[in-house]
Symmetry: C2
Subunit: 91 residues, 2 copies
């Protein structure tokens, strides 16, 4: 994706930031159980979309980082999946 | 813990390395399902021991990082829990 496309796609996401070839967001939770439920819901999305972000899991937070290794950078799939993960919080 | 105690405790673990106030090990798996099963088994250990490592989860690997925030560094609990996570792989 061109930088201009990336910038436009970022506008459609809330709370995500770009770090080079990656888009990143940290989600905060009330406790470890909520955190792990989120991790597993995100893993399900990863499985069904066949697109697997790096997850960094702490006691009450999880950072999700998407990139597309096969594209050598960001792709539309990263933004589509980021929106799907965000949608978990809208439930 | 003193550096000498830490060094001695490291001798009892296989594949862990020290990174400042943290001990770290990366586990590799055949696929995403195995990785997530490991993540959840580790989360169960975290819950029952009330000691929560940082987990960094990729498609086929998970890095586990233990430190004891309340102690401002490594504690015996880090080593005890590291051994418990290792024991998952011995099942």
């Amino acid at each position: 994706m061109l930088d201009t496309e990336i910038a436009a796609s970022m506008q459609n996401l809330d709370g995500w930031s770009r770090d080079g070839n990656t888009i990143v967001k940290t989600y905060h939770f009330a406790n470890y159980h909520e955190t792990m439920a989120f991790v597993n819901a995100t893993a399900w999305i990863s499985h069904r979309t066949d697109h697997h972000p790096d997850l960094t899991v702490g006691y009450n937070q999880c950072t999700v980082a998407y990139t597309t290794h096969s594209a050598g950078g960001l792709s539309r799939k990263d933004f589509a999946c980021a929106a799907r993960v965000d949608a978990l919080l809208a439930l």
